[in-house]
């Protein structure tokens, strides 16, 4: 995984060709639990202009909440750092990405297994990735130990007739 979050953001935002069909946003915020709800509100506000169903908004909020919580709890383990939330929508395809520059995941396949958690004592259920997979059409994880983690999630929207 490339750890150059800034150049990546730049590229992504520049990918906008001004056609009006594509819109995107990048949000950076500190890894604090109080920002989980903020991240959900921002992604909803971004999505809502594309005329999503209530269910789609709920699905996206939940998936983003899981990924952001993971960045805070597992990626940074309570230490300070930034979480990046990138979202983009083009026609009916909505893509959202959550990145951290935290500890990374040694075995992604194992981490994504239902009920797997490295924090059972804190009552983590190990269902975060499973929730993401249930509520989104596609979830992919790139991670490197000591560098960070990037979770990319895609969803096709039923009605793409927003602005």
């Amino acid at each position: 995984m490339e750890n150059n979050a800034e150049s990546t953001e730049k590229k992504e935002s520049r990918s906008d060709n001004g056609s009006g069909a594509l819109n995107d946003m990048t949000l950076l915020f500190p890894a604090k639990a109080e920002n989980e709800s903020f991240a959900r509100v921002v992604v909803s506000a971004f999505l809502v202009r594309r005329n999503p169903t209530l269910e789609e908004v709920g699905d996206v909020k939940t998936a983003v909440s899981e990924a952001v919580t993971n960045a805070i709890v597992h990626g940074y383990r309570g230490a300070s750092g930034d979480v990046t939330l990138y979202a983009c929508v083009a026609d009916d395809l909505f893509i959202v990405e959550v990145r951290d520059n935290g500890v990374g995941i040694a075995d992604v396949e194992k981490a994504m297994k239902p009920f797997y958690t490295d924090k059972p004592d804190e009552e983590r259920s190990g269902m975060g990735f499973t929730v993401m997979q249930t509520f989104m059409d596609e979830v992919s994880v790139e991670s490197e130990v000591g560098v960070g983690t990037r979770v990319t999630m895609k969803k096709r929207l039923k009605y793409a007739n927003g602005i």
Partner: protein, 101 residues
């Protein structure tokens, strides 16, 4: 965040607001405080006013299930919306937490 009603050995607790990782410690602590009363055998969580739940909620419910299970008690929920229902189904909560329709 919580609002309680006692009916014999059942405690009905209404959870309001969002149940995420940020809110979980507070909700957990409040539930565990009321559950210190050992005469409570049944915990009914009313989810009507809960506007959001993610997998942090699974952890909270699993934990309360274990606690009550140790004293031979049980836990169930009511007023679950379709979103929470899907989380229940995928996580196996459905097998251990009763659902009052």
């Amino acid at each position: 965040m919580l609002d309680n009603v006692r009916q014999k050995d059942t405690l009905i607790v209404s959870i309001s607001g969002e149940l995420d990782h940020y809110a979980a410690p507070k909700i957990r602590a409040e539930l565990d405080e009321v559950l210190q009363d050992k005469s409570i055998r049944k915990l009914c969580l009313d989810l009507k006013a809960m506007s959001f739940m993610d997998s942090s909620g699974i952890g909270v419910l699993m934990g309360r299930y274990k606690l009550l299970n140790r004293r031979g008690g049980e836990i169930y929920v009511k007023n679950m919306n379709s979103h929470v229902r899907r989380i229940f189904d995928m996580s196996g909560l459905r097998q251990i937490v009763g659902v009052q329709e």
